[in-house]
C-alpha cells in the first residue's frame, strides 16, 4: 500500500453524548465541519448519515473519502454501564482475588455508603491454576496443561465470550501464559483471548490483571462495532481505511484497535489535546494549559515545551470527578500510555444547588444531555451552569449549536430565581454570577491537579480553551490561576474532531526489566528492545504501511534505587551501551529536579521498564484554515447587556463574530458568537485575532 494519501477528503469523527462532530479536510487544504445528533442505540448510524449527508450536500462521490479517523467512547460507556463481554480470568493458584482486592484503598473518607466497583470478572469465572514463577523468572511449579481442560468446558457452559490470562511474574517469564493462550486459541477459536504478557508485560499484578481484563471485556464489542461501521459505509460505497485514536493521542488501524481495545479508551479527550499541541507548535507557544469544557465535565491537560505531558495509568469508569492521584480506587485501573488529563464534574449541565446549611454547590451532579439544562424545557427545572450563562448574557438567547437546539431563557431565569436567588436573598444576576464563578473555581482545582501535582506553576502557561463551553469560562478561570493569555482556536466546538485529523500513526510497547543500571545485563536489555521492535514493526507492516516510513524511538523508566517515583525519559541510542544508560540517568535527574525540586543524594538507579514507540510518517495534509462560511456571520453589529459581577455590573457589550476582530486589540467587554460556542471577553481584558484566526484574550493584572 502507498503511504502517500491521495488528495481527497479526510474525515475526523468524534462521538459525544449529544452531538457527533465531524471535521473534514478538503482536497484544497481547507477545513470544514458538521454536527449531527448522536445516535446512542447505534453510534455508527450518526457517522454514516453525517458523512453521506455531507457528501451529497457537497456533491462528493463516495470514493472521495480517503480516510476516516475516529474517536469513540464506546469502550468507556461499556465499562460505566457494565455492558461488556462476559469475561473469564485464568490466574495463579492462591491469587484468585487479585482483581477484586485491588489496592484496597478507598477514594473518599467519611463515606459509609461507598461501594467497591464490581469486578469485571465475577469470582465464579476466575479460575486459579497450579503454576508458579518467581521474581527472577524461574519456573517453580510447572503448569499442567491438562488442568485447563475442565476450565474450558466450564467456560463453554458459562457462555464466556472472552478470557483474560494473568499469572504472577509473567512480565519476566511469559511461558505459562503463552502455553495457556495457545490451548485456548486452539480450542475456543471464537472466544477472544487476552494474555497479560501481550497486553501489558509490566510488573504489578493488580494493574496488569486489571488492564488485561478490561481489554478482554471491551475488545469483542469494539471489534463488532468497527465491523458494523465498516459494513454500513460499504453499503454506500465508502471504503476508506478507518483509523482510531488511542488514549495517548496517536492513531492505530481499526484492526489493531479491535485487538488492543484497552488503548482506545478516552480517545476523544486525547484528540483535543493533540489538536492543541499542534496548534501550540504552529503558533509558537510552548507552554499551554488546555481547558476542554463539555456538558458534564471539564478536562484539563498540560503541554510543556511543545510536548504533551503523559501519564502511565488511568482509572476508567470512575464516578468521582476529582482526578487527582490522591483520590484513587473508584474505577478500573488501566496501565496504558495516556495523555495526563485531569477531569472535574463541572460542565454546562452541572446542577447548582443551595444546601441546607446555606452553601452553594455546583456539580458534580449533572442534568446531562437529557433532560439537560432548564432552558431546554425537557423536564429539568433545576438551574445548571448553562442556565446561569444564559441569564448573564454570555450565550445566545435563542439557540445553541448553530440553531440545532432551541433554548428558553425564561426557564433559566425562573430556575435560578426559585432555587437560588430567592432562598439566599441574592439578585437573580448575582445568583447566576455565583453559579458561574463556582463552576470556575471547580475548574481551577482540576487544573491545579495536573499542574501543581507535577510541580508546574499555571501562571507560566497560556490557556487554550475549547469544547462547547470552554471559551465561555476561560478568561474567568485564567484570572484565578494568574494566567495572562487565553487562546481560542477556530471552531472550538469541534476541536477534538479536528484533532483526530492531526494524529500520527504510532504503536507503543513496554517491557519490565527491573535491574540496577550499574550491573544491568546490556545484552539482555538489547534483546528485549529488539523483540519489541520486531513485534511493533510487523504489526505496522500488517496495517499496510511501508517499512521505509517507520521511525523508532526508545524510552526508559528510571528511578533512584529504593524510591518509587519512576520517570520515563528518552533513551538516547539504538544500541544499549553503558554510555547511553549514563545519558538516560542524566535526563532522569534533570526531570526529577524539575518535578520534585531536589536531586537525590544517591547515584544508584533502577531501570524499571523499557519502552518503544514506532511512528509512521505519512505525508498527510493536516490543514489549519477553516472555511469561513461555516460560521454564521452577522453583518449588523449587535449589543446586549452582559453581567460581569458586582464589581463591573451589567454592561452593554458588543456581540461580535470572530471575523469582526482585527489584529489590533480591542477592550472588553465583548461576546463573540460562533456556530457552536460563545467566547466571553470580560471588561478587564482585551481581545484580538492573530494571523491564524485564533482569538487571543489578554488579561490585565495591573
Amino acid at each position: 500500500m502507498e503511504t502517500q494519501i491521495p488528495r481527497q477528503f479526510r474525515v475526523g469523527v468524534d462521538i459525544g453524548g449529544t452531538f457527533t462532530d465531524l471535521a473534514f479536510l478538503r482536497p484544497d487544504g481547507k477545513l470544514d465541519k458538521k454536527k449531527v445528533p448522536s445516535t446512542p442505540t447505534d453510534y455508527s448510524r450518526a457517522i454514516v448519515e453525517g458523512i453521506s449527508d455531507y457528501c451529497s450536500e457537497k456533491g462528493i462521490p463516495a470514493t472521495g473519502i480517503a480516510e476516516i479517523v475516529h474517536a469513540t467512547t464506546l469502550a468507556t460507556n461499556a465499562i460505566l454501564e457494565r455492558k461488556g463481554t462476559r469475561t473469564a480470568l485464568i490466574t495463579t493458584e492462591g491469587f484468585r482475588d487479585v482483581l477484586e482486592l485491588r489496592r484496597i484503598r478507598i477514594p473518599l473518607s467519611y463515606d459509609l455508603d461507598w461501594e467497591k466497583p464490581v469486578p469485571l470478572v465475577e469470582r465464579a469465572l476466575r479460575f486459579p491454576v497450579s503454576e508458579r514463577v518467581d521474581a527472577l523468572g524461574n519456573v517453580l511449579v510447572q503448569i499442567e496443561l491438562d488442568s485447563i481442560e475442565p476450565i474450558i468446558s466450564e467456560m463453554t457452559s458459562e457462555e464466556v465470550e472472552a478470557v483474560a490470562v494473568c499469572f504472577l511474574h509473567s512480565y519476566r517469564q511469559p511461558l505459562h501464559e503463552r502455553q495457556v493462550g495457545e490451548v485456548l486459541r486452539r480450542e475456543m477459536p471464537h472466544v477472544h483471548v487476552s494474555l497479560s504478557c501481550e497486553v501489558l508485560p509490566e510488573i504489578l499484578e493488580f494493574e496488569r490483571t486489571s488492564t488485561t481484563v478490561v481489554n478482554a471485556y471491551v475488545a469483542p464489542l469494539i471489534s463488532r462495532y468497527l465491523e458494523t461501521l465498516r459494513a454500513k459505509l460499504e453499503e454506500i460505497n465508502i471504503r476508506p481505511p478507518i483509523l482510531v485514536m488511542q488514549s495517548n493521542g496517536s492513531l492505530i488501524s481499526a484492526e489493531s484497535a479491535a485487538e488492543r481495545a484497552v488503548t482506545i479508551i478516552e480517545s476523544g479527550p486525547a484528540a483535543g489535546v493533540v489538536a492543541a499541541a499542534r496548534l501550540a507548535k504552529d503558533s509558537s507557544c510552548s507552554n499551554v494549559i488546555t481547558l476542554d469544557m463539555g456538558g458534564t465535565t471539564t478536562k484539563a491537560s498540560i503541554i510543556e515545551r511543545g510536548e504533551i505531558l503523559r501519564a502511565g495509568e488511568y482509572e476508567v469508569g470512575s464516578p468521582i470527578s476529582i482526578s487527582s492521584r490522591l483520590v484513587r480506587g473508584s474505577g478500573y485501573i488501566l496501565r496504558i500510555p495516556i495523555i495526563d488529563i485531569s477531569e472535574v464534574g463541572a460542565g454546562g449541565g452541572s446542577l447548582a444547588t443551595l444546601d441546607a446549611g446555606g452553601a452553594m454547590r455546583v456539580g458534580p451532579r449533572s442534568a446531562g444531555a437529557h433532560p439537560g439544562p432548564a432552558c431546554y424545557g425537557q423536564g429539568n427545572d433545576l438551574p445548571t451552569v448553562t442556565d446561569a450563562n444564559l441569564v448573564l448574557g454570555y450565550i445566545n438567547t435563542h439557540s445553541l449549536a448553530g440553531g440545532a437546539l432551541r433554548v428558553n431563557p425564561d426557564l433559566s431565569e425562573a430556575a435560578i430565581k426559585e432555587k437560588i436567588a430567592d432562598p439566599s436573598g441574592l439578585s437573580v444576576l448575582d445568583a447566576a454570577y455565583g453559579v458561574h464563578a463556582i463552576a470556575n473555581s471547580n475548574m481551577v482545582r482540576a487544573i491545579k491537579s495536573v499542574s501543581v501535582e507535577r510541580g508546574r506553576d499555571p501562571a507560566n502557561f497560556i490557556m487554550m480553551a475549547f469544547g462547547g463551553a470552554g471559551p465561555i469560562h476561560a478568561a474567568g478561570v485564567a484570572r484565578v490561576l494568574g494566567i495572562r493569555r487565553v487562546l481560542i482556536p477556530p471552531s472550538p466546538g469541534v476541536f477534538s474532531a479536528f484533532g483526530l485529523l492531526r494524529g500520527e500513526v504510532e504503536h507503543h510497547s513496554a517491557r519490565t526489566v527491573l535491574t540496577h543500571t550499574r550491573d544491568a545485563n546490556l545484552v539482555e536489555i538489547q534483546s528485549r528492545f529488539d523483540e519489541m521492535r520486531e513485534i511493533l514493526t510487523s504489526r505496522i507492516l500488517g496495517e499496510g504501511f511501508a517499512a521505509s516510513a517507520i521511525s523508532t524511538s526508545s524510552f526508559v523508566d528510571l528511578r533512584y534505587q529504593g524510591q518509587s517515583s519512576e520517570i520515563t525519559v528518552p533513551f538516547p541510542a539504538s544500541q544499549v551501551t553503558t554510555e547511553a544508560l549514563r545519558i538516560a540517568e542524566e535526563f532522569f535527574e534533570e526531570e526529577f529536579v524539575r518535578t520534585y525540586g531536589y536531586r537525590g543524594d544517591t547515584k544508584d538507579f533502577e531501570l524499571v521498564n523499557i519502552r518503544m514507540v514506532i511512528t509512521v510518517s505519512r505525508s498527510v495534509e493536516h490543514g489549519s484554515e477553516w472555511l469561513s462560511e461555516s460560521d454564521e456571520v452577522s453583518a449588523k453589529p449587535l449589543k446586549r447587556d452582559v453581567y460581569f459581577g458586582a464589581d463591573f455590573g451589567l454592561l452593554p457589550s458588543d456581540v461580535l463574530t470572530r471575523h469582526c476582530l482585527e489584529s489590533q486589540p480591542r477592550s472588553g467587554p465583548a461576546v463573540i458568537q460562533e456556530y457552536d460556542t460563545t467566547i466571553v471577553v470580560p471588561p478587564d481584558c482585551s481581545v484580538f485575532l492573530d494571523g491564524r484566526e485564533n482569538i487571543i484574550i489578554d488579561l490585565d493584572f495591573s
Binding site: L101, I104, D111, L112, I203, A359, L426, I438, E453
Partner: protein, 580 residues
Amino acid sequence: MSFDPVRLELVKNGIGSVVDEMVLTVVRVAYSSIMKDTMDISSAFCDREGRMIQQGLSLPLHLGSFPDAMDAVRAEFGDRIAPGDVIILNDPYHGGMHLPDIFMFQPIFADDHLLGYGVVVAHHNSVGGRVPGSSAADSTEIFQEGLRIPVVKLYEGGVFNETLQKIIGLNVRIPDVVLGDLQAQVSACRIAERGMLELIGRYGVSELERYFEELLDYSEREARRAIRSIPNGTYRFTDFLDDDGINMDQPVNVCVSIRVEGDEVTVDFDGTSPQVRGAINSTLSFAKSAVYFSIRSIMDSDVPNNSGFMRPIHVVAPPGCLVNPQPPAACAARGVSGFRVIDAMFGALAQAVPEAVRAAGEGGTTSYSIGGYDSEGRFVLFREAVMGAWGAGCNREGIDGVANPAANISNAPVELVENQAPIRVERYELVPDSGGPGKWRGGLSVERQLRFLGKEATLQLRSDRRRHRPYGLAGGGPGAPSDNFLDDGGWGNLPTKFTMPLKNGQAFRHTTAGGGGYGNPLERDPNLVLADVRNGKVSPESAKKDYGVCAEPTPWRVNVQATASLRAGRSSPEPGPSTF
C-alpha cells in the same frame, strides 16, 4: 441570610486548594515511601485562635488532632510568635499523638497581623527508640519509643535552628530520610503561606476572617442538624481489645456512652480500662479524632472539616484511662485503640440510628515487620499492613477486601514484595464463610501467607480481634476471628501480638477478621446467597446452616422447597449487636 453563599463557597474552595496543595507538596518532595506512597500525612489551616478552618486531603484519624496541637503551641509561645517562625512538636504529652507523627506549624502574617497557621503533620519512618520503625506495641514507657520533641521553633524569625536539627539527626536511625522529610513539611508550610497571602490579596484580611467565622458556623449548623436527627437518649456500648501486647490474657475495655440532647452530644469514656503497660494507649486528641470520625461518617453532606463541626460534640475521658493516658505511658501502637473507639461508637450509634451505620469491620490494620538478613547477608527491613473487610449495614452489603475507612492505605503488590525482599507470597485471597451472616452479609476476611527465603530475621506482628470478634447488628452474626499461624514443618498457632525469630524456609499466615452481618440471615434473599455460593464466598454448608438456603449444582440454583422447609421453624436470632 447574613452572608453571601457564593463567597462562602469560593473562600472554602480557595482554602481547600491551599490545604490540598500542602499535602501534594509533601507527597512530591518527601523522601520516604510512608509519605510518598502510603501518604500518612494531613494538613490544615487554623486561624489565629488555633481553630481549624479547613482540613486537607488526609487521614480521617488526624481530624481532631489539630486543635489540641494548636492549643499546645499557643500555650507555649502565646504572643511570642513572629514572621519567619516554624514550630514543631511530636510529644503525645505536649500536643502530639505518638512520636512518629511530627506536627509543623507556620504562622502566616499579613503585615503585622497574624492571620493563622499552616499546619502539616506527617508520619516519620524513624524517630529512634528501642525498635526500628518506632512503632512497637510492646514498649512499656514513652522513653523507649524514641525522641520526644516538645513545642519548639525549627525556625525563629527565619533563622534555622541547627542545634535542634543536630539533635534530631543523631537520635534517628535514618537521619537523611527523616531530615529530608522534615524539609518536605517545611515546603508545605511555605505553600500554605503563599496560598493564604494570595487569598488575602483577593478578599482582604477582614473579609477573609469574616468568612472563617461563616465557615465555622456553617459546619456547626450542619453538625447540629445531623445530631438533631439522632433521637435524644444515652447509648452505651463496650467493645474490647484482645490484650495490650504485654498481658496477653487480659482483655482491654473500650467503653463509650453517647448522650444526645437536642443538637449537642457528649461522649463519655467512663468505664474504659485504665491505661495499660503495652504501647496501645491513645491520647485524648486521637480518641477525639475517632469520635469525630464516627459522627462525621453518619452525616450526609460534604461539609468542610473544621472546628465548627466539633463545637456541639463534647468528649470526656477520665485521666489515667486507656484514651487519656498520663506520662510515661507508651503510645506508639495507639492506632488499634483508635479503631476500637470507632467500633464502640458505631455500636452505640446503632442503637439510635441503626440505618446510618455498619456492623464492625476487621478492626483495623494488622501490621508486621521482618527485619533480618537475606541469603547474601545484606540487612533487609520489610514492613506491611494487611486489611480488611467492612461490616454490613441496613440495605448495604459488607465489603470484601478493602481498607479500613479510618486508615485508608494501599496493600503491597506481591510482585514488588518478591523483587525487593527475600520473601515469597504464597497466598493472598479472600476467605470463604468468614463474613458475618445477615440479611446483608459482612465482608470476607483476607488471608496472606509469606515464606521467608533469607538467612534469619525477627518477625514482629500486631493483630487483634481474635477473642473479641467484629460484632453484627440487628440480628446479623459476628465476622470470623483473626488468626496467625506458623509453618515450622507443620502449621501451628501464634498469639495476636508477638516478636519471634524467623528461620530460612519458615512461613507464617495471617487471616484478618471478617466483617459483621446486618439483619436476620434467614431473611437474606436466597438469590444473593446463591450468588455467594456460586462465587465460593459462602459454602453450601454455611448457606444451609447460617442462611437456611439450599443451593444445589449444576448449574447452581436455589432448591426453593428445601429452602422453605429449612427456614420454616427456625427461630430468628436476638436483635441488637451480636455478642462476641
